[in-house]
């Protein structure tokens, strides 16, 4: 029935709720007759569609492309994916989320990116979930001059080697003086840089071990990223919902110190109640020149809760005072986040689905 063309189709959403990679719905090559000339929005959730690139080549009017939880059977290489987007002058949102870390570029078949990248002139929002090798290769092949909202979610991996991605991030002009928030929780860590407007860079790493979380975040923050070095407000939080998880953050002080190093322009540091002791103790341990080398522009330290945190921070403040770099300590009433961060566009999508499917005749 759906192997014929649907010439008036502007919106297509397919969602397999079973979400089982072994039994993923696989869409055949002949789906929609291989073309969708008027399609503006395409949402595929947990389906495998190996022939999708061919369909996308015909979808020149596409504005929103959401590929979520792609089953491994539907893996599409960065090179083929970029080629399929090459004629999409109207594409504003591109979301690409793989369901498994097995979906990754093969080193043997990987070809170097072309000298002239593919321009996606209207792309403003990019969301990715997968392995860093994929996004690195993908980013090397595109030029998206209007991109200002990037959401990256990586599966657990020990080493991130993403120079191309860093280059893309550093080229976004609006990624300047954004507010930075680093969060740790029992299921992952994130670094968010955002402004009051829609400019946003969010990196998530899925891993449960606290030391790995911290190590990943340190790696990302240490990549000489312009939005990090220009950020003036930094908030660090730990989701206190899981006490066992909290205890695991008793990590050596040098790691916490290393985390703060790249934030050379931070004036205001906000420490949530559960993370305060770790960072304040790390600051307390600074001696000599390192007292001013870490957070050199810091003016105010906002601390939520615990008295020991204030005491530890007090030693750091006194040391800074001696070096004529005063830092004021303030009480901070932390605004607890009850909900895990979730991409706004995903929330809109969920709501649209509900609206479409909830009501029966």
């Amino acid at each position: 029935m759906m192997q014929h063309p649907f010439p008036a189709l502007t919106y297509l959403a397919l969602w397999d709720w079973l979400n089982d990679d072994e039994e993923a719905v696989v869409i055949s090559d002949s789906f929609l007759g291989g073309s969708a000339p008027l399609l503006q929005s395409l949402y595929l959730t947990h389906v495998a569609f190996p022939a999708l690139p061919k369909l996308l080549l015909s979808a020149n009017h596409l504005v929103d492309l959401h590929l979520r939880d792609i089953a491994h059977a539907g893996y599409i290489s960065p090179e083929v994916m970029v080629a399929s987007l090459s004629s999409m002058a109207k594409l504003q949102y591109f979301g690409l989320a793989f369901g498994s870390p097995h979906s990754r570029p093969s080193r043997s078949s990987q070809r170097p990116p072309p000298v002239i990248p593919t321009t996606l002139p209207a792309l403003t929002r990019f969301r990715f979930k997968g392995v860093s090798e994929y996004v690195e290769d993908f980013m090397a092949r595109i030029d998206a001059p209007l991109l200002c909202n990037i959401y990256l979610s990586f599966f657990n991996q020990l080493v991130f080697d993403i120079p191309q991605l860093s280059h893309v991030i550093n080229r976004v002009e609006s990624f300047n003086r954004l507010n930075a928030t680093i969060s740790f929780s029992s299921y992952g860590a994130s670094v968010e840089l955002s402004s009051e407007a829609h400019d946003r860079l969010l990196l998530e790493i899925s891993c449960r071990q606290a030391d790995w979380q911290l190590s990943s975040v340190v790696q990302f923050c240490g990549m000489s990223l312009h939005p990090i070095s220009t950020s003036e407000n930094l908030t660090v939080t730990i989701d206190s919902g899981n006490p066992r998880h909290l205890g695991r953050f008793d990590i050596e002080h040098s790691q916490w110190e290393e985390l703060l190093h790249p934030f050379t322009n931070v004036k205001n540091l906000y420490l949530a109640e559960d993370v305060g002791p770790h960072i304040a103790t790390a600051l307390q341990g600074l001696v000599g020149e390192s007292v001013t080398r870490v957070l050199p522009a810091l003016q105010s330290l906002f601390i939520a809760g615990l008295e020991p945190t204030r005491e530890a921070a007090g030693s750091f403040v006194a040391a800074r005072q001696c070096l004529s770099r005063p830092v004021a300590i303030h009480w901070w009433e932390e605004e607890r986040k009850t909900e895990y961060r979730f991409d706004e566009s995903e929330r809109e999508l969920e709501s649209e689905w509900e609206s479409d499917l909830e009501v029966d005749d």
């Binding site: 029935m1 759906m2 919106y11 397919l14 039994e23 696989v26 869409i27």
Partner: protein, 154 residues
């Protein structure tokens, strides 16, 4: 009754005396504020022949669509209404409980030139998905779809 205070004094007119263009603007405003799910424009076409004419004369501006959720007999519905764009969004959780849904969705998919929107969430048995996607050409395949449906297996 509409009261117009512009001019010499209050002027009372009935809504029926408003020009079609003005009524259309009112309908568009009404439609924009309506719940996407409610298909409020259907109420408008039931008011009178004149309103029905205005609504059906501007399907694009009013973004008219016939929504197929599968429970109402689609062939009958499509016979009654003008050839408006079709939006298909069946309640797939009911596919097995209400056998007619699959049949009705398939009937709507038959109007390929008019289908503008398809929303399918599969939380139904795989054979039902196979029926919707077409069991003759293997446009969709799953490991657990019986061979009797003629679908290719992975």
């Amino acid at each position: 009754m509409i009261t117009d205070f512009v001019g010499a004094g209050p002027l009372k007119v009935t809504i029926g005396s408003l020009p079609d263009e003005v009524l259309l603007e009112i309908f568009i405003f009404y439609q924009q504020g309506a719940d996407y799910n409610k298909e409020e424009w259907i109420t408008l076409v039931h008011v009178c022949r004149g309103w029905r004419y205005i609504v059906f004369a501007s399907p694009l501006r009013l973004d008219l669509r016939l929504r197929v959720r599968g429970k109402i007999h689609t062939r009958e519905m499509l016979d009654i209404w003008p050839a408006l764009p079709i939006a298909i969004s069946p309640s797939t959780s009911r596919l097995t409980r209400v056998p007619k849904i699959t049949e009705n969705v398939i009937a709507a998919l038959g109007h390929r030139d008019r289908v503008c929107r398809i929303t399918l969430a599969f939380h139904c048995p795989r054979p039902e998905i196979g029926k919707i996607f077409g069991n003759d050409a293997a446009s969709i395949s799953c490991t657990d779809i019986p061979r009797t449906l003629g679908l290719a297996e992975r």
